[in-house]
Symmetry: C2
Subunit: 693 residues, 2 copies
């Protein structure tokens, strides 16, 4: 019976509020009551809410609740990241333990090596898909859409969060054979956490804080990167870069605050967990600081940047080709639609078989985990020089020895690694499970840099032996620059340069790393090539105009006159009950423009679906033959675009004022409506985006 009470009485209350012109509040209350009637655990919910209100009352005298919300977001994401790292490490160690105990039984070892990641990938796919069908992939392209202002509520739900956490843990536990990362999904996870905290704060706050939801999404993007690597400033730079066109400067301080809290919490948890002695970089390197590199090496770093840019173009080409192929190939799309677990397992088995350490994996340092791969590539030791020195080789078991197995040199290993991992990376991107693609690319770039660095170090040492002067080249520095440059080029971002510095704490190489990243980016961005994320957004048909615009920049200057359509769902001010009923039935919009008459078409304002529903409801209770104009207060149109404005201007204004809808008028007459989906429609109509593979 309680459910029924939500009906007429409540609506009457909203009507009263409506008459007092507080539409937004009425809308919110209706939404809240809808949510409450649908959701379980009412009692515990109300207890949590009461508790939150008390806490809020206590602290609101010192700081605003939203500031606590940002700090909590950082801390929670860091906690999630730490717990996931912990679980993944345990699962990986279990695999290693089992594999080492089967020493001597090649077949059993093969089965252990392949079936463990296969089953984890299959589990990840089936679990995440059954909880939330959208949870596959990294989530960054979707986050970019949401940051641009598009609403995608499915991507912020709690079941999605749960599916992504479990799925991602399984994907990561599959290890370096499948070669997947964590940062992309973490950005998405932190966005979901942020949206949840925002709802919690909004319901706990007695006074409406008036903070837009967009803000918490921007903050979350920064927190995702910061909590994943303990790198606060590159997180903030990342959040600037993923914004569509405009970054609101007021989001900057909250972003830094939340990112710093996240990074600090992540580091302190590592300290408490006994992994680190104090707060320090995740992959700390200690290169010699006296002469980290010769000034002339700047040229070599520039060459490395260009090389990474060229390789990234090849990688992105393959990636676009396989995305296109997966969509167009009938058999594959059928398998992916019905037998995705089989596909996932099959691909994982293939990748694992290839990296089997007793076969090809011997020449690919396959036994190292993702973290070990990165740590070993960043080492200062000159591998080739040291591997020729038998006495050094005998001492202890260091990471780099996996790169110099018996029967081959480091050049062969690095070459095989680069050749094989290129197509394996591309194939791994097609796996329908929650996973990140940044860290693999980062490691791949480090290997490219290492190869060049080893070559240069070898060449310079040969030179030295004849000249007799010490001129040590540090191949680790090249690996660092290569990692930043390649991952930056693939994602068309520059924040990886700072991330590389924050991950290693190696500030001596700041300038060469930045230089390599800039050059690699310049090459990758030339000729309007889409980035990794752009390609996914285009293939998935996500409403992300910047991706489409990047592939066709001349669309920006097209005037709206040529593209907008007069909307069909328009109300007249004199409309009565029948027209409103018809309109509500025929349209699914949430907001309708009101004109004085269909002939003149002069725009008077807009009216929300909720207002119209209340209008109809009032009619049922005796107020007959009333006109819309007498019953509803129209919301004034604050910003109008003329038909002469360009798509670029429409897009800028939409992003700047963070509205979902803008009206286009011509001398006061309604000529069209601009929404995110409308911009997307225009883009697609004017320029069917194709991935030029």
């Amino acid at each position: 019976m309680k459910e029924v009470q939500c009906g007429p009485e409540r609506l009457a209350e909203y009507m009263r509020m409506d008459e007092e012109n507080s539409v937004t509040q009425a809308e919110e209350m209706l939404m809240v009551s809808n949510m409450q009637s649908r959701k379980p655990c009412r009692r515990s919910r109300s207890m949590v809410k009461e508790c939150m209100q008390r806490i809020q009352a206590a602290v609101s005298s010192v700081v605003g609740l939203h500031w606590l919300c940002y700090v909590a977001l950082g801390v929670l994401t860091a906690l999630l990241s730490f717990c996931m790292n912990f679980t993944v490490a345990k699962l990986l160690r279990a695999h290693q333990w089992l594999y080492s105990h089967l020493e001597g039984h090649a077949v059993l070892q093969f089965l252990c090596w392949t079936l463990y990641p296969t089953s984890l990938c299959a589990l990840s796919t089936s679990f995440s898909h059954s909880i939330c069908p959208y949870s596959a992939g990294s989530g960054v392209p979707e986050v970019r859409c949401m940051l641009a202002g598009v609403e995608l509520p499915d991507y912020l739900s709690l079941p999605h969060l749960f599916a992504k956490v479990v799925g991602l843990t399984c994907s990561l536990a599959a290890g370096s054979t499948i070669f997947l990362g964590k940062v992309g999904p973490f950005v998405h996870l932190s966005t979901m956490l942020g949206a949840y905290l925002y709802r919690l704060c909004a319901s706990a706050a007695s006074v409406k804080e008036g903070k837009p939801k967009q803000e918490i999404l921007v903050v979350s993007a920064a927190v995702g990167v910061a909590s994943c690597f303990g790198a606060p400033i590159s997180g903030v730079l990342f959040s600037v870069e993923v914004m569509g066109t405009h970054y609101a400067v007021r989001d900057y301080y909250p972003s830094v605050l939340a990112a710093a809290s996240g990074a600090l919490a992540f580091h302190l948890l590592s300290v408490c967990g006994g992994k680190q002695e104090t707060v320090q970089a995740l992959f700390k390197t200690t290169y010699s600081t006296n002469l980290p590199f010769q000034p002339v090496e700047i040229l070599a770093f520039a060459v490395l940047g260009l090389l990474c840019g060229a390789v990234s173009c090849l990688y992105l080409l393959c990636h676009r080709w396989i995305l296109q192929f997966m969509r167009t190939n009938a058999i594959l799309s059928k398998i992916l639609a019905t037998e995705r677990v089989l596909y996932s397992g099959g691909v994982a088995f293939l990748l694992a078989s290839i990296t089997f350490p007793l076969a090809a994996g011997h020449f690919m340092a396959a036994k190292l985990s993702m973290n070990q791969l990165l740590s070993s590539l960043l080492e200062e030791t000159q591998w080739y020089v040291v591997s020729q020195n038998a006495s050094v080789q005998a001492t202890g078991d260091t990471l780099w020895q996996a790169w110099s197995p018996s029967g081959s040199t480091v050049y062969v290993t690095l070459g095989v690694f680069l050749l094989m991992k290129l197509w394996m990376l591309v194939l791994a991107c097609t796996l329908p499970l929650p996973a990140g693609y940044f860290m693999p690319v980062f490691i791949y770039g480090a290997a490219v840099g290492r190869l060049l660095g080893e070559g240069l170090a070898h060449a310079s040492t040969n030179g030295v032996s004849s000249q007799g002067t010490a001129c040590a080249i540090n191949p680790g520095g090249y690996a660092l620059a290569g990692a930043a440059a390649f991952s930056g080029a693939v994602t068309h971002t520059l924040s990886p340069a700072l991330l590389a510095l924050e991950l290693t704490g190696q500030h001596t190489h700041a300038v060469p790393v930045l230089l390599a990243t800039l050059l690699a980016n310049a090459l990758a961005r030339s000729r309007h090539r889409p980035s990794f994320y752009d390609a996914i957004a285009i293939i998935k048909k996500l409403p992300h105009p910047p991706s489409l615009l990047r592939t066709c920049p001349k669309l920006l200057s097209v005037p709206l006159r040529q593209v907008v359509r007069v909307p069909t769902a328009v109300l007249e001010s004199q409309d009565g009950v029948t027209s409103v009923q018809q309109l509500l039935r025929s349209s699914t919009e949430r907001m309708f423009p009101v004109v004085d008459s269909h002939e003149s078409g002069v725009l008077l304002g807009s009216v929300s679906r909720l207002q119209l529903e209340a209008f109809l409801h009032g009619h049922r209770h005796g107020r007959l033959d009333k006109k819309l104009v007498d019953q509803c207060s129209f919301q004034p149109v604050k910003i109008q675009l003329s038909t002469e404005a360009t798509i670029k201007q429409a897009y800028s204004v939409l992003g700047a004022v963070r509205e979902q809808c803008l009206f286009v008028t011509e001398r006061g007459r309604l000529a069209g409506v601009i929404t995110w989906s409308e911009i997307n429609r225009i883009m697609e109509e004017r320029h069917i985006p194709t991935l030029n593979c």
Copy 2:
């Protein structure tokens, strides 16, 4: 005779172009010809132009000219920075040489110590004022206005550049007695250089590149910081922070490119000049990396942040008070208006007398230059502990010994330094000469941090001696965090945190530095206190709405209806020659709205002053009794604000679309015009900004 040719023939050409509806091109040509007719060295100008065109043709096939312009901006600013550093170092050494050769003659030494900076300050004031009266101060408040979209052409002229370079060199050569910095004016200098390069590129490019001028200003702001310190990423962060409300993400890549070129050029010039062995941080520190700080020290860093925030509030209060006092005190304003050189010299003499090393300067480490002060404060050595150890004290002459002179401990020296420099800093800010105020604040913060760090180190060493465990606290780390926190709090920015890391290359302290800066900022920003730049903008009545809005945030939600005025300079479409003539005489606007009639007031479009002048000119040549509507093609109004839109929305849209003017309409009728100066007028009318001292 050549000048005369610019007249009717040219105008007729513009008329033709006007009829072809290419108004913008016509405007530009007129401006260019106006510039050419005014400026000297025509021949060399045309040669430079021709040369530029050839270069452009050669390189445009590879990269766009604007990319080269960004790189050139970085390199030129770095060159300027390097040359200035070189000159200042020579001048400072000359002073030191003279002072040391007068050893034994106290009076002569006093005269040398005081008159050298006095005369340099007087020279700086008189020179810069005689070339360009606006060149005093740091220039950052003005740059912020220009970045917000306000046009201030006086602040981008070449004479201003010249005045600022010479004036700044003199100010810096006055040394640590006057305690002035370089970074603020450098941001302004790089803006001027950027604007000049932009004009050069625009005139050299045969095809119009279509890049907005705003972009080069944003890039320049980043380059200024990057070239001054060789710190590219904090430069980019600074440019994000100084933007009013929205940072256009498309400016990000150019900013990083230009900042990286600037930083690289600055470092390479240092390498070539023999100052550095390779590209490395300017104030490189080499703290122990094994255990840079105990996790529990995070709390001490947080306390330091709060302490710096509190001290910054005191400093800003004094600064606001003295700014207000200088404006309101009749005698002082008279002196500043007529005898500014005398004032400048007088204040410099006072400051220099106080720091005389044989008197009070003995307890203030007055003999150290600005760079030496910073380097010494950032040292890892525990001064107090070492100063008690006679054997260490005897070895060599190190910087820190200036802080521990005979007859006093480091605590006394640091305390005296902090107490005296607080009011000396405030007084130095009133000097009417080109100078920066960031570096002094940075050093002051470092001293605050050092004092806390020394205290903690002393306390922990005492604790250790009883417990017998090694627990070395590094006071240099506290100095680093204090510098970032204090300078961040004074300017209400967070980029100093990254700047501190980039200046020292000390990435181990990233998290504590960021934490301290965040907390100091939180304290300094609370209760809507204006920042250092805000206070100057308000006192100077600069058109910078964010400064005003920050002091009175409730203004943001005021609807335009309450504040806009119907403009007086409005044209009717049927207006003839007489009305246009009257309008042009009575108004100085550059753009006029056109309505269909004064009664209906329906906005049709806008028309520029140039179009109207061409219209009048055409009339003189025989086309009589023509109406405006037949002769001029009105520019369509692309974006209209309604009277219901808020000030915040108006401001956001103005910033996002980078227009100088927006029209406010009510159902198609013109209700007002929103320009930057109009927003400023509204702010001032609604809320007379007062500096609450």
